[in-house]
Symmetry: C2
Subunit: 356 residues, 2 copies
């Protein structure tokens, strides 16, 4: 409040140089003599001066801030993604303004708030924006990158993992290993992530001329996976032996819930009686009690390329649009019977030998 700020003019006076010289001292590559720079820094130190990034942003038309719109930080898939974005942007000298916005329509309402601050670019994770909004950002010259969402024909970059392909592979794995009664536990049905995983799984089952999978609806949460499993394994099916012998869960949290239901509540053996595969390779999958076989999205790579691309576009708006689609990796643990030949990239996560 009213506290007088130390400005470059104050430093200039103290150092006996011009205000421009002060500015140059803080501009990498500007033409200043070492001597002037030293005087400036000494004076700055003495006065407790630091350049004002807001003023710099205004005149230079570069804020060195990016907007990051995230869907749901509480879902364990996102914290690592957030951390990676923070780290990658920091390395590029960009600060991040964070926004939490729900689904697609929210994003359209949110974007003006982030544009207001003249961010150099915006990354949107797991949501889309309307084509009107995309056009508006484009007119402003603010680049957008979609993470985990793809919009055909829009002038926005995107980097995704190939959910359809991964889900198709899971169908193949289950079928080839001899499972006969497949099931699917869905995420929120209106999300594109769920739609892609479901479509990939079902379409491949159909291509292989197998009976369509049973399905129960979840909402990505642990509890919904637990409940969905209970719906899939009714008392009737249990007694007839006609219960699912392979369950693909649209994410890990639901996979863990299903696992707990199947083992603790239903007293079935995994993977002997039923195989379970999840998606994301969240930390808890590797816990000794679960060891859930799952799909890992190459998050490091995806974030790195999203950031790299964003920076490149900030520096060159004419750069061509990218639409990266990364392949996932099967993480083999203990919850699924798998065929001899695994038809997708995979690694085995050995049971850690931690006896000491």
């Amino acid at each position: 409040m009213g506290r007088p700020r130390v400005t470059s003019f104050d430093v200039a006076r103290e150092a006996g140089v011009s205000q421009s010289a002060v500015s140059r001292a803080y501009t990498p590559g500007a033409s200043v003599s070492a001597k002037t720079r030293d005087k400036v820094f000494a004076a700055a130190q003495k006065l407790g001066y630091q350049p004002n990034a807001i003023a710099r942003s205004l005149i230079s038309r570069r804020s060195n801030m990016v907007g990051l719109v995230m869907a749901d930080v509480v879902n364990p898939f996102y914290p690592p993604v957030l951390e990676l974005f923070m780290r990658n942007f920091r390395e590029q000298g960009q600060r991040v303004m964070l926004f939490l916005g729900g689904h697609n329509q929210d994003v359209d309402e949110l974007l003006p708030q982030v544009l207001e601050y003249q961010v150099d670019g915006i990354v949107i994770t797991s949501s889309t924006l309307s084509s009107e909004m995309a056009a508006y950002c484009n007119k402003l010259g603010t680049p957008i990158t979609l993470f985990n969402r793809y919009v055909p024909n829009a002038r926005v970059d995107s980097v995704c993992s190939d959910n359809i392909d991964a889900a198709r592979n899971i169908a193949d794995l289950f079928i080839t290993a001899g499972h006969k009664r497949l099931a699917y536990i869905s995420g929120q049905v209106n999300t594109s992530t769920n739609q892609d995983r479901q479509k990939g799984f079902f379409s491949r089952v159909e291509e292989r001329r197998q009976p369509m999978p049973a399905m129960a609806e979840g909402d990505w949460s642990y509890q919904s996976g637990f409940d969905a499993a209970l719906k899939l394994f009714t008392a009737e099916k249990l007694s007839s032996g006609e219960y699912p012998d392979a369950v693909f869960c649209a994410n890990d949290l639901m996979g863990l819930g299903a696992l707990d239901a199947i083992r603790c509540k239903l007293n079935l053996r995994v993977p002997d009686d039923v195989s379970v595969i999840g998606f994301d390779d969240t930390d808890s999958c590797s816990w000794h009690n679960y060891r859930l076989t799952t799909i890992r999205t190459p998050v490091e790579k995806m974030v790195a390329s999203a950031v790299e691309n964003m920076i490149a576009r900030i520096n060159n708006p004419e750069k061509e649009i990218i639409a990266a689609l990364e392949q996932s990796l099967l993480i083999v643990r203990d919850t699924a019977r798998l065929p001899e030949q695994i038809s997708m990239p995979f690694i085995k996560d050995p049971k850690p030998d931690t006896a000491g």
Copy 2:
């Protein structure tokens, strides 16, 4: 690049009013006629104008941005905290610049980067800053609030949960329920959170004239809890029956690791053979397979008061310093034998009846 921005002058021309009028139209409570405002908004709409928050920040000396420094978003305790901060600040019309910084010394190096952007205030979670840095922020007039960290005699606000008190209560619970061989699995030993939990637990055991707890060092992670449990329950102790019968874990993740080690690897019964209590009440504690008895910090309340206080201080720098210390709540689930009389606030989390 170089795309001409639409400014308030363009809108003024289009609307046939002065530039000041445009500015006033966007200032709540400013004196403009409805008619002028309508003309302005119509022109703005037509041109795709939106006020430039950076320019506004510069002249008004209010950025409506706060800096949020978080320690470790990957630890499941933090995502909910982050979400709460985002939501509360948004309600107050504040945007947040996020920074991820490790331990205390990092924060001192980070702060200049956040101050550069003229944030209206800074919240630091689970780290401290040096008194020099505190003094510098104070000189700049930028308020600091510490979340989960307390600095006596510094001119910074803080809101914490009372870790010492909660840990003392756990000692009481164990002892009163008749446990004889207590143990403690620590978090990273140099963090104040661990120090407080450890101190509270040990000091109360001492006051009650019980044998000092055994201790194994962890680092907050699941795996470290698993490993620590194995160190506590050696083959020798197992065969002599002299293994711990009550383990207090400095956080839930380690508690779950310990639980898996104790039950799956050691084949001991919980809580019959050994009681386990964690800390934080992270989501996975309530999973059917774990149902970990733990301590819940009143995070909603803490974040709300941190934000409320920050806003109050931004508006009145002379406001008195607060140092809130919130009491925690015991969440009773299935992993600990508890006395008849529970000596601290608690709630029972009933096993959800989800059979359908």
